[in-house]
């Protein structure tokens, strides 16, 4: 393509005070190209995007966007781009139409053009029926779609989108990408940040970021090529034995259980994997997620804390049971008639988009929120009437990790040990044991504030298990953590379950479903499906289907039932 590049970035860097948030980012973006910026929380994705939209001044480096220098002529850049920040960026007290009209008016869109584009955009976003509804009363997915429409109303040549599909339900996410594909077909360039690897796979080029540094830039095919020969699928007649082997093998970087007896394996090096007992090993085409795992491990070699252990076998002892649990906030039903059981040593995964009711359900089971209806028993205690005792016998890691960021790791651990009434003489030993089980091996004398999100995550887990709880609740513990760190975190959860802890964990990473014994799919407060992944697949007649397709199948079925009723 001979056309002038839309973006030229040359060793862009940004510092806040002494802290370097991003450095050494260089790339060109041609007209019509789609660039995915991929990395975990704290990688510097938002900072990069804000500099591209000229709303954050680079500390050093050069960057031209749409022919203007972001430092010298920020106004010209700001006026042309479409920029969608993370979170909700529209006015919640304005209606859908008012928000769009405002977006058009401040961007000098003529009235006739506005009306025409509004019709097209709202129809594409499935929002045409909601023109008169307040933005704040829409679902999370709808708000995101509307924000995207507001950024397309002036037909910008460049769209800059900061994690557009974060926490959005799978259906809205597909619709969001349909709108983006139309924009791409119309010749718009797109830069978007994401922590979903499959989205990155669909872009023309990918920039992998970690800890403020670029790991790699290239087309998805190029990046996957780096991991070629290091990704295998293994099938075994004795999955438990294979899992033990994989855990022990030093050349295995990480692995995921795909179905009951197949595993996907990423290797640390190019040497082919040899395992005794000759399980069926076949090399497979790497995915973006595999690529990130391999590239990230190559840039910062890690010593995986692995220990061989017995496979886990859920016992018959029911640790958590809910019957018809419901929670209403005024007119709004956050959790609607949910029943479930979890046995000792079992991992139940709650899957669903933001606002599906996962957090509310977990909070009720933790005794933090009384149910409006129904009954919950945790470790044999009634969550409504014995909430104090319930809280003493569970561990809870909340979404926004509940550590004191101005205390050191050790001070946090001491506090939680004391708060749960650990005997003083036991304290040191129990904290050491908890850190060991939670894989927290970083120094304990640094302030929590200075820890990375993945390390913080493990410290939060350690704090939650100091008192040796029988039931562990984890509310989106892996949100915004890179794939390798997520894999390690799931290994820890697995190990805890093997020791007999009942685990309920929520996530919006659908691929994490494969780590769970059973899944609960939640949507609009209701449990639309509950059971092992293989059962759910069979129920829809979709064996081997991806979790996302299974989820979409159940959403379609739930909607059909709602219409029929």
């Amino acid at each position: 393509m001979s056309a002038a590049p839309v973006i030229t970035a040359d060793s862009l860097a940004r510092r806040f005070g002494k802290r370097t948030v991003l450095e050494g980012v260089s790339f060109d973006l041609s007209p019509g190209e789609v660039l995915g910026v991929v990395g975990p929380d704290g990688a510097g994705k938002s900072t990069l995007l804000q500099m591209l939209a000229a709303i954050l001044r680079p500390s050093s480096g050069r960057c031209r966007v749409l022919g203007s220098d972001v430092r010298k002529a920020p106004g010209r850049v700001q006026a042309q781009v479409g920029y969608m920040s993370q979170g909700f960026s529209l006015y919640d007290r304005l209606t859908v139409a008012e928000n769009l009209a405002f977006a058009a008016a401040i961007r000098d869109v003529p009235r006739a053009a506005y009306l025409e584009r509004k019709g097209v955009l709202l129809a594409m976003a499935g929002l045409a029926r909601f023109e008169g509804r307040r933005e704040g009363a829409l679902s999370g997915g709808m708000r995101k779609k509307l924000a995207l429409c507001a950024n397309l109303i002036h037909e910008p040549p460049l769209l800059i989108l900061d994690e557009p599909s974060l926490g959005v339900d799978p259906l809205s996410r597909r619709e969001l990408w349909k709108i983006l594909d139309a924009a791409r077909t119309a010749g718009r360039s797109i830069v978007f940040a994401t922590s979903y690897m499959d989205e990155a796979d669909a872009s023309d080029r990918v920039l992998l970021l970690r800890d403020g540094r670029p790991l790699a830039v290239g087309s998805p095919a190029e990046l996957r090529g780096v991991a070629r020969g290091r990704v295998y699928r293994a099938t075994a007649s004795d999955p438990a034995a294979l899992e033990r082997q994989l855990t022990a093998a030093p050349e295995v970087l990480s692995f995921q259980k795909r179905t009951a007896d197949t595993f996907r394996i990423q290797l640390a090096g190019d040497a082919p994997l040899r395992l005794p007992g000759a399980p069926v090993l076949e090399p497979v085409e790497p995915s973006m997620e595999d690529a990130f795992t391999v590239v990230a491990a190559a840039s910062a070699p890690v010593t995986a804390a692995k220990e061989a252990r017995e496979p886990r076998a859920p016992s018959a002892e029911v640790r958590v049971s809910a019957e018809g649990m419901t929670r209403r906030f005024d007119d709004f039903v956050a959790v609607d008639d949910v029943s479930l059981t979890v046995k000792a040593g079992e991992v139940l995964g709650l899957l669903g988009p933001n606002g599906a009711g996962k957090t509310t359900l977990i909070r009720m089971l933790c005794g933090l929120l009384p149910p409006s209806d129904g009954r919950g028993l945790v470790a044999g205690l009634d969550v409504a009437r014995q909430s104090e005792r319930v809280r003493a016998s569970i561990g809870y890691v909340s979404q926004k990790v509940s550590l004191f960021t101005d205390l050191t790791a050790q001070e946090n651990l001491d506090f939680f040990a004391r708060a749960y009434g650990t005997p003083r003489g036991e304290q040191v030993r129990r904290i050491d044991r908890a850190c060991d089980r939670a894989g927290y091996d970083a120094p304990r004398d640094g302030l929590v504030r200075s820890l990375s999100s993945a390390v913080r995550q493990r410290l939060a887990l350690a704090s939650a298990i100091v008192h040796r709880p029988k039931v562990l609740f984890l509310d989106e513990p892996t949100s915004g953590v890179d794939p390798l760190a997520r894999f390690r975190f799931w290994r820890l959860i697995d190990a805890l379950a093997a020791e007999g802890v009942a685990v309920i964990v929520s996530t919006h990473y659908l691929e994490e479903a494969t780590y769970c014994d059973r899944l609960g799919l939640m949507m609009d407060g209701r449990m639309i499906a509950l059971g092992p992944l293989s059962t759910l697949q069979a129920e829809l007649g979709l064996s081997e289907a991806r979790v996302e397709d299974v989820f979409l199948g159940f959403i379609a079925r739930a909607r059909g039932q709602a219409r029929a009723a």
């Binding site: 804000q50 709303i55 954050l56 001044r57 920029y83 007290r93 009209a101 405002f102 800059i160």
Partner: protein, 365 residues
């Protein structure tokens, strides 16, 4: 700067305001609450000060003197103890604020035309009240027994502008300045901080909307609210509290409009410095409400302050509007008398707006 974009922004802001009950509440009710609270509660008038009389004379003359005190609205007889010790005890317990002690030979000395000293003791715990009480007491004693002062030099004291010394007539015009300093900037600062907190401002930054369009578009609706507040407090002051007006309504309203533009601009300046609504509220209150109460001359006259604080007061726009408001309402002053205060407010507004536009950047950090 483009008018259509500015108006679109103002329109959006207006829609948000009318749909938020809290903003409407702060805009309409809070100024009235403050006006009524202070209009009624804050008074420097002394009425019915509890007095005890220790009458050792028990003559017709001593009774007449005590009656002179009690027959005014300034004092009421709280007790008539036998001794000074008992009287002191009553003062100690807060039952009496003043003590009149009449010696045994008061009536006899008066008849003989001799000096007849009496003792008038005042509880100085509340200094300003004590000064007024002692002045009233002295005036009553000097005028005894004929009801007129007979002194070699007879001062003819006349109080201008507020002959009855009604403190409400002086509090309410001062409250205009305080209230219009407190709420308009608070609303403005909160409105910008809310956009920063929710992240909606990032959309504004990444758009052609310029910083002057943003500032003017944001100021317009809040200036309108501030004008409404001005009308509201003036109406309540003149119609409800019946404060007499000696000057021109038109001038007061015109200068009031200038003043609210100044205070709304302060809100905008604060909003360029803070990131959250809590910070916006704290900084605005510290920067506006506190000095408006203490350093505007609203309660404590600026001319009696130490020089350092007079200098500080000169930086508080409320001081100039207290001068303007009291000048027009109480003294009937015109622009010729108040030009200096007006000029300072105009300059102040220009500086605040200039600073805001320097500090406002279409940048997230």
């Amino acid at each position: 700067m483009k008018l259509s974009r500015t108006l679109a922004f103002s329109r959006k802001e207006t829609l948000e305001i009318v749909r938020d009950p809290i903003t409407v509440w702060i805009a309409v009710f809070m100024p009235l609450v403050i006006l009524f609270l202070f209009g009624y509660a804050l008074s420097f008038d002394v009425e019915e000060a509890p007095l005890v009389v220790v009458d050792h004379d028990r003559s017709a003359a001593s009774r007449a003197l005590a009656d002179q005190f009690v027959n005014t609205s300034y004092f009421r007889l709280a007790a008539s103890p036998q001794s000074e010790e008992e009287a002191e005890h009553l003062v100690m317990r807060g039952k009496a604020r003043a003590v009149l002690v009449i010696p045994p030979d008061f009536g006899r000395r008066l008849r003989k035309g001799q000096d007849a000293p009496v003792e008038f003791l005042v509880d100085g715990t509340y200094a300003s009240t004590a000064a007024i009480v002692s002045a009233y007491g002295r005036a009553i004693i000097y005028a005894f027994p004929k009801g007129t002062l007979e002194l070699p030099v007879q001062p003819q004291v006349r109080v201008w502008y507020n002959p009855q010394l009604r403190s409400r007539d002086f509090i309410v015009p001062g409250l205009f300045a305080v209230i219009l300093m407190a709420f308009p900037p608070l609303l403005t600062a909160l409105a910008v901080a809310r956009e920063k907190e929710l992240g909606t401002i990032a959309q504004i930054y990444a758009s052609p909307l310029g910083k002057f369009e943003f500032m003017v578009g944001k100021l317009l609706p809040y200036a309108v609210i501030a004008f409404a507040q001005l009308a509201l407090v003036l109406a309540a002051g003149f119609l409800w509290f019946k404060v007499p007006m000696h000057g021109s309504f038109a001038l007061l309203i015109a200068l009031g409009a200038l003043y609210v533009i100044c205070t709304v601009s302060i809100g905008l300046l604060v909003s360029t410095l803070v990131k959250t609504q809590v910070a916006a509220m704290l900084v605005t209150l510290i920067l506006t409400l506190m000095p408006a109460f203490l350093f505007s001359g609203f309660i404590y006259p600026v001319f009696t302050m130490p020089e350092l604080f007079q200098g500080y007061s000169a930086r508080v726009p409320a001081m100039y509007f207290v001068n303007i408001s009291r000048g027009i309402v109480m003294r009937g002053a015109g622009l010729a008398d108040l030009w200096f205060n007006v000029a300072v407010l105009v300059g102040y507004t220009a500086v605040v707006l200039g600073l805001s536009s320097l500090l406002f950047n279409k940048r997230v950090a």
